[in-house]
């Protein structure tokens, strides 16, 4: 069972050229706004026509430019959950969910819709109109409607982006549970890095219409193939770099030589470190150990549970606001060292360095 997607479509500012496949497990598609994520889903659902290439679902051709096949959306059997849910505002939850069941005998329609509504825990709201539902309920109603046609594949377009943050994690968990029961090709589009990671163990990263990374989520996060993917997966710190010895590189923007443990070392063009990998030490008069550098705090940005520290290496920042690294620590850690005399010692552990080729 698989969904195979490989096509090109010229858009105004770039050419969309997704190339990936998805089996019975959910696949997260991560990318910044305007990367072509939604357009990819719309092409698979049959709402837009690619220029060239093919889309196959379980061996059935949905689109093939060479063979002149373009199955209309209504015959594709692909469920699409729209970003704004696109519930029919003049129809009740029940009528929305039953909308796709036109070929089901009239008597069975309501029973089937009820079952589907129960599956997303919307019992009792069958006769409400969409505008009388909360954001989370609307999302579940739209999901029930998409699943009611018993689709062969399910496409979700930023299903949580229209929700309030405080609702999100609960609805996300419900969604993950529902998706786990679906067991058919599922594409989950999002621009939220953490959401992508939680939803799926497999990840496709899309940038400017192209697949720039494709693999397991841990592989993509731990070992991004290039700077672009590293940035898209949330890398905050990077510097231009060049190789020095077999086990060290020079970080040009950070003005220091770093020991590193990567086989890519000879081809290095950039070096990066994720904000939460930077370690701290205090009270020693002289930096010693591997990749330890004195640093001065430029400014700090606090959230309820975390603090982001903007740091200048080697000497206090001479230009207002200029910094080299941003480090993320918990509030507890921050309360421990906020009063320590500067400079502090920042550690960039060699095994956490991302060594990125051109």
């Amino acid at each position: 069972m698989a969904l195979e997607v490989r096509f090109t479509k010229r858009l105004r500012s770039f050419t969309l050229a997704p190339d990936f496949s998805c089996d019975a497990e959910p696949l997260a598609i991560l990318g910044p706004s305007g990367a072509g994520k939604s357009m990819t889903l719309r092409c698979i659902a049959g709402l837009e026509r690619p220029d060239e290439g093919s889309i196959r679902l379980n061996g059935r051709t949905l689109f093939d430019s060479a063979a002149g096949i373009n199955v209309p959306a209504r015959q594709r059997g692909v469920g699409l959950l729209f970003q704004n849910y696109a519930l029919f505002p003049h129809l009740t939850v029940m009528q929305n969910v039953a909308f796709g069941a036109q070929r089901v005998p009239r008597g069975e329609r309501e029973a089937r819709a009820r079952k589907q509504i129960a599956e997303v825990h919307l019992e009792g709201l069958e006769h409400r109109l969409p505008r009388e539902l909360s954001g989370g309920e609307q999302q579940r109603a739209a999901l029930a409607r998409a699943l009611a046609i018993e689709p062969q594949a399910l496409l979700l377009d930023e299903p949580l982006s229209a929700l309030d943050t405080y609702l999100r994690s609960k609805i996300e968990q419900q969604l993950i549970t529902t998706l786990a029961q679906f067991r058919k090709p599922t594409l989950y589009v999002t621009h939220n890095i953490e959401e992508a990671y939680r939803v799926s163990t497999k990840l496709v990263v899309l940038a400017n219409g192209k697949v720039v990374a494709n693999g397991t989520r841990d592989g993509v996060f731990r070992d991004p193939p290039n700077l672009e993917v590293a940035l898209l997966t949330g890398l905050k710190n990077f510097s231009r770099a060049r190789p020095v010895t077999a086990s060290s590189i020079e970080a040009l923007d950070w003005k220091c030589v770093l020991h590193c443990a990567s086989a890519q070392q000879a081809k290095v063009a950039f070096v990066g470190i994720r904000a939460h990998h930077i370690g701290f030490a205090f009270g020693e008069s002289k930096p010693n150990g591997t990749n330890v550098f004195p640093c001065w705090l430029v400014r700090v940005s606090e959230t309820p549970f975390h603090a982001t520290l903007y740091l200048h290496l080697h000497e206090p920042s001479k230009i207002e606001g200029q910094y080299h690294l941003q480090a993320e620590v918990t509030k507890e850690q921050w309360s421990l060292f906020r009063d320590q005399p500067q400079p502090w010692l920042a550690t960039l552990p060699p095994e956490t360095l991302l060594v990125l080729p051109e």
């Binding site: 959306a73 998409a146 046609i149």
Partner: protein
């Protein structure tokens, strides 16, 4: 003051018939047009909207040229022994032609306002184009279509210039209220003119009230279904 009330019935008959015609044609053409792009349909748009901007006398004159004894349609109808000019159908044709653009524009605007995501959602749910129109586009555009029908009816009821040109003023046959008012004033029968004007205002207000309560009724019916 005469007891001849025929202009009232003539006006109502004419306006209702003209509204039915523009409703069907306006909706059908607007739906057809919604999926068409290019210079051809855009040019047609110009022709459809012309009666809105032209002086009614010009519209009437053009209709006279078309339906007159030497006009293309006039001659064709002559073959079947029918003449349009100075007959009741002429009042309907004049009213329909001048009210058509209002209906057409309203339907088009309200169809364009329907969120395309909803239409596409319906397609992914397996709906045919007819079902998409019938179950999604039409119900959502309905208030606008209805508003267009009211406008068209009001315009048809008030039609004067084109009607006079094409249908003349034959009492009991083509003399609608606006024409009756004009000739009453011309004959200095002011009470008569006031009477007809009052009737016209009453019809218009009644129409608006009906539509208002009808939409209210629809709304509350929906509420009852939901609560029930």
């Amino acid at each position: 003051m005469t007891a001849d009330l025929s202009p009232i019935w003539l006006s109502i008959e004419t306006s209702v018939t003209a509204t039915v015609i523009t409703f069907v044609l306006g909706t059908a053409i607007a739906v057809w047009r919604a999926n068409k792009h290019g210079a051809g349909p855009a040019l047609l748009d110009g022709i459809f909207l012309l009666p809105l901007v032209l002086p009614p006398t010009v519209v009437g004159f053009i209709l006279l040229l078309i339906f007159g004894r030497n006009g293309p349609l006039g001659r064709l109808l002559m073959h079947f022994g029918a003449t349009v000019v100075f007959s009741w159908p002429a009042t309907v044709i004049a009213a329909a032609v001048v009210s058509f653009p209002l209906m057409y524009l309203s339907v088009r605007a309200s169809l364009e306002q329907v969120d395309t995501n909803l239409l596409q959602a319906a397609r992914t749910l397996g709906a045919s184009e007819w079902r998409v129109f019938r179950r999604v586009a039409l119900p959502l555009a309905w208030p606008g279509i209805l508003a267009g029908a009211i406008l068209a009816f009001a315009r048809a009821l008030g039609e004067f210039g084109a009607t006079l040109m094409l249908a003349g003023s034959i009492p009991g046959k083509t003399e609608t209220i606006p024409i009756a008012i004009y000739f009453a004033v011309e004959a200095n029968e002011m009470r008569q003119a006031i009477f007809w004007s009052a009737i016209d205002i009453a019809i218009s207000l009644g129409m608006i009230a009906c539509m208002y309560y009808w939409t209210r009724l629809q709304g509350s019916a929906r509420m009852r279904v939901r609560r029930g």
